[in-house]
């Protein structure tokens, strides 16, 4: 499989692949890196947000 890198498309067999998952209370992050001769040539990130924004709508009591 060809990987898009900083040096053009390179077959993944010629690259070292590193990947991981980081799961926190805020998000789940999946990342993949490809290295060539100890140089990072590709890094992609897929992140799912968990903590989203909510606004409380309030009806103030009268009197």
């Amino acid at each position: 499989m060809l990987i898009t890198t900083t040096k053009g498309e390179i077959d993944d067999s010629l690259l070292e692949k590193k990947e991981g998952i980081i799961d926190t209370e805020n998000e789940t992050t999946r990342w993949v890196e490809y290295w060539q001769n100890n140089e990072l040539v590709h890094r992609s990130v897929d992140m799912t947000l968990k903590r989203n924004v909510a606004t409380l709508a309030v009806a103030q009591p009268l009197g």
């Binding site: 900083t6 992140m47 947000l49 968990k50 989203n52 909510a54 606004t55 009806a59």
Partner: protein, 151 residues
């Protein structure tokens, strides 16, 4: 029966589709849905609840990234469930074939139809991308996890 003080849930939903206008001088040129965009900001930026509109200041820059970010697709109209109104983009927000070497940790969703007015700020763990794709996968669109909720 008894009366119960409340913010009407229908009102919350209607806020999300522009039915109510308590102010003056607010003009909408169309009844069509607005367009929204998502811009990424450096970890060193200050983007928060006080942000009123998109700004290129401290926005990420790099190969393949266009200032202003990418379009956000809201293919599903806002909904209500229980006493919460909510809306979530119907597709992932994705920045393809980019190199963003300076760490970023924030995305601003803003209304590109209405003078780039700010909608919401979402922060996350600091990231960089190298000749790759940064994808923000959306949560389930419901009253508990929807991306934007009025509870």
């Amino acid at each position: 029966m008894a009366n119960t003080q409340a913010m009407c849930t229908s009102f919350k939903g209607e806020l999300l589709v522009g039915h109510h206008n308590f102010g003056t001088g607010v003009t909408r040129g169309s009844t069509a849905a607005d367009s929204f965009k998502a811009a990424l900001y450096l970890a060193s930026a200050t983007v928060n609840a006080a942000t009123t509109a998109y700004s290129a200041s401290d926005e990420v820059s790099g190969t393949g990234y266009t200032a202003g970010g990418v379009a956000v697709t809201f293919g599903t109209v806002p909904s209500t469930s229980g006493t919460t109104a909510f809306v979530t983009p119907s597709a992932s927000i994705s920045y393809s074939s980019v190199t963003l070497s300076t760490a970023f940790d924030c995305v601003l969703i803003y209304n590109s139809t209405q003078s780039n007015k700010a909608v919401s700020v979402h922060t996350f763990g600091s990231q960089t991308v190298t000749a790759g794709t940064f994808t923000l996968t959306m949560p389930t669109n419901d009253a508990s996890t929807g991306l934007i909720r009025l509870a």
